[in-house]
Amino acid sequence: MSSVSELYDVSWEEMRDKLRKWREENYRNSEQIVDVGEELINEHASKLGDDIWIIYEQVMIAALDCSRDDLAWSCLQELKRQFPDSHRVKRLAGMRLEALERYEDANKLYDSILQDDPTNTAARKRKISILRAQGKSSEAIRELNEYLEQFVGDQEAWHELSELYINEHDYAKAAFCLEELMMTNPHNHLYCEQYAEVKYTQGGLENLELARKYFAQALKLNNRNMRALFGLYMSASHIAASPKVSAKVKKDNVKYAAWATSQISRAYQMAGRGKKENKCSVKAVEEMLESMQITMS
């Protein structure tokens, strides 16, 4: 079996830089991280300097994700040896217990961290993740709400909470979380688009109009967001088809829908250029837009 460096013709420095990129952008491409990281650790540990500790941590977490307990264990041992009393390493030990589904033992470990340091957010979040893994959604939601009362700026937590609410079909509360995220991240087109999707799902004329506005906002921030484009088309079409709207509102929304249609067709035409197999999708979209117009008019 050839090594990563052989297969992809990369140097150990490039491998180290790739790991850093994945770390900084929080990618969860665990299989790749394990492949690259394991080789880096085994073959080039001495060259990595102090970077090696953060790499051990990154590879350990990825190893847990891929059920590579052997690799996770050896990384953990190195970290334990180097940082014997560290809470950060203890949390990693806890994550390993979680991966082995030893949730009670993991919780005991996190509780001991919190006894020592009640402000340790990482341990608190792991406890919430355990609730989620056990399918205890309402408890996870309750704990996460309590957490956010204290740590109101934690974006990751707000997003996690919005996901939990969406799964529980509590769209109003999911919308609230997304509103928080949009306020603190006004340039993030994904939050706008998710908010619009939640509003659309809630239904009713007011929500549809909000949905359309936020799909439009998402497009302003990123004009290649296809979900937002389709969302704009669908919400505008539904509003235009509603018997409750004024003639002006109907006219405006017909215009928005028409604009969206032309953008969608254009995008698919560009995508389909020179690709034979995409004819299926392109044709399907054309007919779909036609059929949707018929059902919504």
């Binding site: 969860r28 969406i166 799964n167 949905a211 296809m226 389709f230 669908m234 999708s281 007919e287 779909m288």
Partner: protein, 205 residues
Amino acid sequence: MGEVELSCLAYAKMYLHASQFPRCSVNGLLLSSSPAGGAVCITDCVPLLHTHLSLAPITQLALTQVDVWCLQTQQRIVGYYQANACVSDSSPTPCALKIAEKIFEQCNNAVLLMIDGEKMFPGGRVPPIVVYERKDGRWALKDKHTIMLRQWEETCSIVNQLLSSGDQGLLVDFDSHLDDITKDWTNQKLNAKILKLVSPANGNV
């Protein structure tokens, strides 16, 4: 009720879809190219989402697009499948029931198929699926004996082959298509690859 037959192609793609996103709930539609009436032959499937399964807009969009594609290719939507992120719970979620209900409105022997993540592992001898049908106004477990997977051994080995060559990465679901519309959610290339493995000329039978 009637018999349900699940083709190797449909099974393989569902399995690959669940394998491609092990940390997410995934869902998709089950299609048939056989005429209505008699046994339900699931000949293909379209993988749909791996994010926000319960949000309406993208689901509606996907259903409409698949509808149109089915008309063009003489197929019908005959069912719905879902694999929950939480492996220990393979019961249908409200969103699964809702979509299955919609399909049932157009197809009176529609099936709802839940993938049982706990039974998915290499060398698993039992198909990791739980099938429901509409009976007396609710979705009830279907009698296992009415569910056919022809050439089960062959199907298993084909799936293992695909997984070991990492082919779940080739599968395109509707979500991935929206991220990059040059990707083909009808999976023509992957279909061809799988069908080649299935054909008797392969000497696998």
